[in-house]
């Protein structure tokens, strides 16, 4: 099993009903668990506990949706796409909750509410990354933390390689401006 590709393993996982199915799944889990929990850790702004929960949910989704995977495609972009969607849902949920909290606060006091960016006081690179929107943050994490190729990222985001390069260019340029504003020392 060890020598099998991801796609071969998931094919076994899809089609077997005996121990082979479990073994194939275990292999996939062992191959991806560490990098995916790391991805969640960064994407969810260093929330370790949530990262572990998300990892658990991610593999549950893989079990539930195993038949949706097309074995002619690569597995890696597929698993990352699921992970990114999970994080996007979480950002949306948090945003709604944050708006609700702000609404409550505003009705209780007359204080001005500052957004995330204005609350950032530390000139730390990670804090600056965290002021960016979820898609830009995902681009940065995938490229610079996980060293994913442009091709892999294009498959994950379902777009052309040129689009990924262009997005990386503008994202890095935007980050560069944020860092300058924060007097970050290179």
């Amino acid at each position: 099993m060890k020598s099998k590709t991801d796609e071969e393993l998931i094919k076994i996982f899809q089609n077997s009903k005996d121990d082979q199915c479990k073994i194939a799944f275990d292999h996939l889990y062992n191959r991806y668990a560490k990098q995916m929990v790391n991805y969640f850790y960064y994407a969810l702004k260093n929330d370790n506990e949530k990262a572990q929960d998300f990892l658990h949910d991610l593999f549950l989704k893989i079990i539930e949706n195993k038949d949706k995977f097309d074995c002619n495609q690569s597995f890696k972009p597929w698993i990352y796409r699921i992970a990114i969607n999970m994080c996007n849902n979480e950002y949306r949920r948090k945003k709604i909750f944050h708006k609700y909290e702000e609404h409550i606060k505003a009705s209780e006091t007359d204080c001005d509410t500052n957004n995330y960016i204005e609350n950032t006081t530390e000139t730390d690179l990670w804090n600056c990354i965290n002021t960016m929107n979820p898609e830009k943050r995902a681009l940065i994490i995938l490229r610079f933390k996980f060293n994913l190729t442009i091709n892999e990222m294009a498959l994950i985001f379902n777009c052309a390689e040129g689009t990924i390069k262009s997005r990386l260019f503008y994202t890095t340029k935007e980050l560069s401006k944020i860092l300058k504003k924060q007097n970050y020392e290179f």
């Binding site: 790391n38 260093n46 610079f144 390069k165 262009s166 890095t172 560069s176 860092l179 970050y184």
Partner: protein, 59 residues
């Protein structure tokens, strides 16, 4: 060449080379898109990101 293709090329170069390491033709190319300072800022940001994530902070 479209502006998107230009920015793609700039990003490819900035990931790999300091401005001083570029061939003259690439320097000219960069300067048709942005200033040397902007290129250096971009390059520094890319380097900072690579160094930051290389530290391998893990949960």
């Amino acid at each position: 060449m479209s502006s998107d293709k230009k920015t793609n090329r700039v990003f490819e170069l900035a990931e790999q080379f300091e401005f001083s390491e570029l061939l003259d033709m690439d320097k000219k190319y960069i300067l048709s898109v942005m200033t040397e300072k902007e290129y250096n800022d971009l390059r520094n940001t890319i380097n900072s990101l690579s160094n930051y994530f290389m530290k391998d902070i893990e949960p």
